[in-house]
Amino acid sequence: MAIEVRIPTILRSYTDGAKTVQAKGDTLADLIDNLEAEHTGLKDRLVENGKLRRFVNLYVNDEDVRFLGGLDAELGDGDSVTVLPAVAGG
């Protein structure tokens, strides 16, 4: 069960510069633990006190995970996960 995870520039120091990495997990929380095993330190940049960090946005197939159950969001084979810092629009 492979899930592609897109990593923003600001977090690529944790992935040896890789823009995308593969990971596994039935839920987003599992996926982040799986990422942490390969890319130590990444989890702390995404999660704080058991919740997603305020200035980090994660999307499953382009939909904001905060509306899909947050860390409990379910994942399936072939899903793509995008990590982005929160930026201003307008």
């Binding site: 600001i10 960090r53 382009d62 939909e63 905060r66 509306f67 995008t82 810092p85 629009g89 307008g90």
Partner: protein, 315 residues
């Protein structure tokens, strides 16, 4: 229709059906043509409301200087109103925005301070806040945190949609300052049980997310996720493909951010069709395509269009 002045003609925009783009007679798309506002964008509503609120509160007096971080449309709206009402205006705008926006600002007499491309609007906000500290008598309306922004949509955009489309089931709009979604979304939630409020957020190139660290991230003070049903991130390729589709099928010439909104609206429509549901999906056409012609994305290869928008603040 007659108005006492140009400024008074804000709002009251048409809601048009999209019979060719709608997936079925049961699942229909409706476009709210916000390009039919005085300066040609949805931002006229928020800009005028913020000025009127600041005047009413005594913050904005004749001859005052307005300061605003803006990627374009809000600045253009404020600049037009400032010219008519006799205010000076300074706009802080990221340098990676279309030349038309800068020209329009200059045309209306705004002084433009360019902020660095990396970091996008976050940087514009930061630069404006610094300038505000050095010029305490200037009035920063601050669209990201000014309640009058969302209130304008609660008072006008939301009620207009409900009056024109009492059967509305979904409202889809762009997420920038979040004013449109928070204001119209709150209104529609109060009036229409079960309505879905859907955000389309532009996904820019890497340059725009080039923050020094994650703590420099930005969430507008107006944003309340509880107003939304869900939120989609839409990249430039999908946005351009959809904005062309809107022009090809329905004849509507819209700006690029509208393509992102339409992409989300069509996604919602597809879900409704799959569920066998009836849906009336209203979405915002933020502005016309005129200000983005110089990007060259309205014709030619989609790969080239995607490249042209890389690093640009296209919404």
């Amino acid at each position: 229709m007659r108005y006492e002045s140009f400024l008074d003609s804000v709002g009251g925009t048409p809601l048009v059906g999209l019979p060719r783009l709608s997936p079925s007679p049961d699942v229909r798309l409706w476009a709210k043509l916000e390009d039919r506002n005085p300066t040609g964008s949805v931002k006229d509503r928020a800009a005028l409301a913020m000025i009127r609120a600041a005047e009413a509160a005594g913050r904005l007096r004749p001859g005052a200087t307005i300061l605003e971080p803006t990627s374009g449309n809000t600045g253009i709206s404020l600049a037009m109103a400032a010219r008519v009402l006799g205010y000076r205006i300074v706009c802080v705008m990221p340098e990676n925005t279309s030349t038309e926006r800068r020209e329009l600002l200059a045309m209306y007499g705004a002084e433009v301070v360019l902020s660095p491309a990396a970091g996008g609007s976050n940087e514009a906000v930061r630069v404006a806040q610094q300038m505000s500290q050095h010029n305490p008598d200037w009035v920063m309306l601050y669209q990201y945190g000014n309640p009058a922004n969302a209130q304008a949509h609660y008072d006008t955009t939301g009620p207009e949609i409900l009056a024109d489309l009492p059967t509305v089931t979904h409202f889809v709009a762009g997420l920038g300052t979040t004013g449109t979604l928070m204001g119209a979304g709150r209104f529609l939630r109060e009036k229409v049980p079960g309505i879905e409020i859907v955000a389309a957020e532009p996904r820019y190139g890497e340059l725009v997310y080039g923050l020094r660290n994650l703590d420099e991230g930005f969430v507008p003070e107006l944003y309340d996720p509880d107003v939304l049903t869900t939120r989609f991130s839409v990249g430039p390729r999908d946005a351009v493909a959809r904005v062309r589709e809107l022009l090809d099928t329905e004849g509507i010439f819209a700006g690029i951010s509208t393509g992102a909104i339409l992409h989300a609206a069509l996604g919602v429509a597809r879900r409704a069709v799959r569920a066998g549901a009836t849906a009336d999906i209203a979405f915002i056409v933020c502005d016309g395509g005129w200000k983005y012609l110089s990007t060259g994305v309205y014709s030619g290869d989609l790969d080239d269009a995607e490249d042209a928008l890389d690093g640009q603040l296209w919404a």
